[in-house]
Subunit: 325 residues, 6 copies
């Protein structure tokens, strides 16, 4: 346990939550080589086709994460007592050069992978998931559990292949993800053409619309998701816009009629046992929410993800073969 | 289909959503004579007894409607492929003369009716529904499906017969609506006197409080509503305050404890098959919601209404007798 | 009834809701000796460990309470026709002296008690419940029904025994509350240590987490709460953060995943019949919610509490032995 | 001096500024018959042709006036030690009936006049100055010193004679004001037609544009204003939009390039010695300024006006013939 | 004059300012071939290195320009009575492809030039001035009068030559501007290195810091600017951040200590007589200013520029050789 | 110079300003022993009698300071090339124990003093200046140059000697400051009693009201201030409310009619040559300014103070006797 003592959040009963510089969860800074789970940011929104601002997501999520505490009230999981977790900084990005940013982000995550840590990321727009997956790639396609209002499987928008509406199509094409083990949950919102879902269905991605989610219930859908993922390394991508804009207004492409934040928390908690190789929370755009609620929601969802990742990784560490990331 | 090519929204994959002048749904402007459904605004709030701002509703709903897309994700209805829909502008109003405005609004909608189009309107406060109904009147009372936190059936407020708390009483008195085929859904919020509901009940209006709505479920209530309306031309009025202020804070008389926007969408989708002769979304007050979420909700609800109107009108057009508006 | 004529809200059909000086519910001012229920404020937030602002709660709740009306739409309870209710002002406080404030607040509520009135209070942070209970104390511990995201039963924070995280531990220690008849409903949010709930459980406080609340349903939980309270005088404390921050963002320690305002209203309505000796709404922090929605929610919850208090007190007054407060 | 003891603001060193119900300057309520200067509100904006909200001005100015203190820092004038000043409430208005409101406002001010008090008013839009002048009328036209970005001397807008762009033309026509002793200071902003200033110049109103004000300096212009007014009873009307919107953004018709709030204070202080028979601050629209700065500015300007009114009235009372209002 | 009747703003005394779709100044839409001055937007902010949002500038400036009127209050210039002015729409842009956007913007302005119109543009970030100048280029470098807090003459930022910190260096290098006839007014704010101004000074650009501007006075500096420009075609670029953020907070790189909006208006009015071949207002970022004041300031500055352009162009048209753009 | 290489801000041309964790000026963290000037925060507002929030000042000033650059545009001073400057963290505070906080803050600054560094502090409310002065005390009273709207020399408020209205009276009484060498600049705003200034004048403090400042001009007043301070170690305290709330709205006790931010910068620049032993910027309350402008102004003023401190300290270091702090 003494190995973990370096990786503890500041004590909020001694140092007020409003004091000091804000890191993720008030954790110390560290390098990927030192930790099991690397909390990182990708402050890039150069893939955004309409309302930007997600580049400010990591900083404001860090700021709001000062409100987070140590132990999950329902599962009683205490991630900082199980694993080494720290703030490993932001991926290098270039706000005026998308191609350069895609490259530098991928390298940053490749470094995390090579150091044996698993990344839990605050975006950035959804395009950043593509270079994250590239950096984490180990030569075979992975499973994906994806929460979102949108499929983000367009081929092109504005004649470009790389923007926040296309990452999952690119990831399938590049062999980073296995479409047969991809599930997208919470889809809704009008679409541009009746054929918009065709490609995803053709390649075998499982689409769960909000209507199906409500009809079947969260547990049934998550059972399906976990069955799809199996025991393999699975990536989890959580677009904040899957949550209704009443709960998370600060996002670029809001769609009314979404899930509540309680439902969002429930969905993530059901991921317990999934072998999460990395996860992200994207599309938090602080300039669109002066109240800070969206970033607080993002921070809380990171804590939820952290707990389920820690549960599984701890089980793997103690009882089973070492984790090969 | 070529007739429809003139009435298409701008292509958001080529012209960004933030570009250009904002019309409803990024549609072209047109006259009522050219269209099947006329998207119009009534920027008037001179009937408001407390917090104003609904006069700014049409412009901000137009602005936020840039986020709307073409095809409904659940029904796959594509209204612009079925009917001619355009932005037919705003009714003339006089912000400092209520009587003059009531007259000019009625004439504007009479013109729409005479041109064979059906109006889908962004208000304005709820008083505007009265001159709309006058303009659409054809000599006999119509059915009404009405979503609201309030009945708006006062006799007088401040000694005046014409304000945003009285339109449905006036409409019944003037023979514009048939109280026996009127249903008001989502009612809640404290009232001024225990007798406030008496008149409505006495004349036969069906009142569905939020408690009944939640107990019976949305589908059961909507079945009753559709039975009441039957095959006759029915007007639909949607006061944004039926939705909880967490989802739609920008309104003058908010009542906590309302429906979610997902429920609002569900209710409207169940209107499919109703012979909607006109519809409105009222009481969106942009100055009371700097985030724009209320206007976005209003715009999305217009899209939902547009889809169900297009479904029915298209069915009428293809299979049955021509529509006699 | 003529005794009640002095204690009526302004007529909103004659004097606009935006006119005049704002008292609670637009009621007249009065002294505790003149009323049955005293609406009061405690503008103190000196117990707040992180984000302050609850000192501004009473004024803004008064302001937003101008939107409240007279008769409950579901129960048709009309409190101002049953009992004498008035705005009895604010407890004296000293914003830069916590000890002095705890003393002066207690005296203020002792005076209310001695005058035979029951207080319905707008806070202030949650520390203010401690001096309220001291002022209402009659020598034996009372039951408590407590709605909150947090237990507020810490022993110390920052080395101090008196802050907004400790009032219920102090109240038990001081014999003001009987832990065996205390129930806390809506708990959630990560905690600082896995042992945080131990003391509360050891002394017998019933903890209802949000998960249990949702699983069992509101009615079942409230039946348990009412059974715990029995016929004895019971205090009700409502921390606005039990409600999800989407519905009530203006609070210092928001926790996502809370109840809706409709659920909050339902919970309070089920208190009908409980012998409420006093109640409060705390932790409304207006500077954190420029929209005013949180204060409106606070005002509406005060009206809900007023209705159930009036129902019981009226029954006691008419049918049973006089109320001995 | 004991007569004044009843009319003192609350002591902010004992009762915090955020506590209690907000009256103007934390003064007691009183009737016009009891005071020398009546602080009143006119919560009416039914004359507004574009952005409304001034109906909420009086309440929010009262709220912000809690920040005001007792003694002017530069003149050391202490109005509450010189005269009886109190909050005399709001004029009755009807938010949906302009004609009725014009009548009831005039009666309210006639009552103030007949009781020998002088009104210092928080509006409301600028149309309210017309019924104020009617109520204060004593059979002969008065002088006017008017601070504004606009002349408000249109003949008609939207075909109506009574709106917030016409009050001073009506007042001249009705013999309430003497155009030869009217001066309008701070004018700027594009106009609708090149002839817009013709009527005002033809009847002899002195127009001081912002450019002339800056070139000549404030003192020189105010000397001219005071010469125009002479010793006669003079009305002062202060439209908050004379101040630049950086300093006072919450107003319906902002014009950039205005005076600073320091300049506004300086102008009003130079009114010392003018026989001010009444004064108003209008067009503060709180919904357009969530920060409260505009209302704070309005409240501070009321304090500045109060000081100069008190200086003159006190001099009149002590040394000269009794004041005949 | 009848030629001009088509190009008039809507009559705000008949159609309220809040009604209808918002074009620049409520003017009709037209093509460049039909007008003398083309009001256009460039909704592009892909050159922004820190806080984005200027892509939303054109729409919100159009929205706020509804408050503009027809005739300048000081000069009495009435541009719509002198020249054909209309809203000629937005330049095509691609939000996720900077290079494509630079090309399409240049073509858009080349078309304006070839049609003989002069553009008055709402940006967009400052990078858009580069393609505007390319589109307006006629083979020789032009003079520039530039208002800004920053010189925007960096060589590279983030290793890229094309971003909003470099346009004027590129324009000089490309021969679009003559550095000896360039003047930058209002400079201030800390810099990255002591050598930051060297290049600009070396090539001969005249730098006027805020300190020099205040010491010499506006008129003296503008006389120098006009002498530099002479009678030649001159481009005017106005970065909104030259104005203090108190007056124009909605911009990506605010620098405190700037000029007032009154001073900004004065500076532009002194441009009368300059042969302005095109002008822009850039860096208005509406998401950073929910109040709308910055966009209102942008709209008013466009009106100021329109007046001085119209004065000179009208003089050229009437008295001298036809304008050869 | 290599000693300084460790103490450089992040390069904003390589790492975007929105990336990473925010320290003051994007500087590295360090201990007082390592630096010449320690940038620190004191997140305490327990001395605030009305509107709180200054406890959040240090974090938000750090956040906004990401916009600061390295070299002063007018003086060309480059502080990071002259001295070792770093972020030395926040003083320990206890948000619910004022006495404990006063003690721990004093110790924090005593440590800075003993390590030979000079502190440049972001508050916190103005009470924090008292423990800062205690910590920096060396046995004799120091000179003070104080910018503020208020004198903060009350004896007691709410019966307490220690609050944000009393620090300078306590500091004189404790011998920390020499009243004959104290000057307070920018005073304005109504006062509670006509005698409020008596104590300050009696002990010899020089009071400069805003009126005198404007009449004499900034340079003349600052010459007097520098003459008062002489060559001795002088403390500089800058209350953000000396600036007009249009420029810095986020503060607890705003007074309209203040100085501009340009004037604030000018005043501080004139401090060059003063032997500043420590300085602070207090009363920035971020919750009262969601735009961030007040914190940006605070950050910029810190940079201005840093430059003048660096100029003098560098001169002392190079030419004269070593600095004895």
């Amino acid at each position: 346990m003494s190995e973990l003592s370096r990786f503890q959040p500041l004590d909020a009963g001694a140092i007020p939550r409003f004091a000091g510089t804000s890191t993720f969860m008030r954790l110390p800074a560290a390098t990927p080589a030192e930790v099991d789970i690397a909390l990182v940011g990708v402050p890039f929104d150069g893939g955004t086709t309409n309302r930007t601002g997600a580049r400010h997501g990591p900083r404001e999520i860090r700021n709001q994460s000062s409100l987070c505490r140590r132990v999950h009230h329902a599962s009683l999981t205490s991630p900082f007592d199980l694993l080494r977790v720290a703030d490993c900084g932001d991926a290098p990005v270039n706000p005026v050069d998308k191609d350069a940013s895609l490259a530098s982000i991928a390298l940053f995550f490749e470094d995390i992978r090579k150091n044996g840590a698993r990344p839990l990321t605050a975006g950035g727009d959804h395009l950043v998931t593509l270079p994250i997956l590239r950096g984490l790639h180990k030569g075979y396609p992975r499973a994906l559990i994806h929460f979102d209002a949108h499929t983000d499987t367009y081929d092109e928008i504005f004649g470009t292949k790389y923007n926040h509406g296309t990452p999952f199509r690119r990831a399938v094409e590049e062999g980073l993800l296995d479409p047969k083990r991809m599930i997208q949950i919470g889809l809704r919102g009008a679409i541009s053409h009746a054929t918009n879902y065709d490609w995803a269905r053709d390649v075998g991605i499982r689409l769960i619309f909000i209507e199906e989610l409500r009809e079947r219930g969260l547990a049934d859908v998550m059972a399906e998701a976990k069955a799809l993922a199996g025991a393999d390394e699975t990536y989890v991508s959580f677009d904040i816009d899957v949550i209704d804009p009443a709960f998370a207004p600060g996002t670029g492409t809001p769609e009314i009629g979404g899930i509540t934040s309680f439902e969002a928390q429930s969905l993530v908690r059901m991921l317990s046992g999934v072998n999460i190789v990395g996860a992200d929370i994207v599309e938090v755009s602080p300039p669109l929410d002066p109240s800070g609620l969206t970033a607080l929601t993002g921070a809380t969802m990171i804590f939820e993800l952290l707990c389920v990742m820690a549960e599984t990784m701890n089980a793997q560490k103690s009882g089973r073969a070492p984790l090969d990331v």
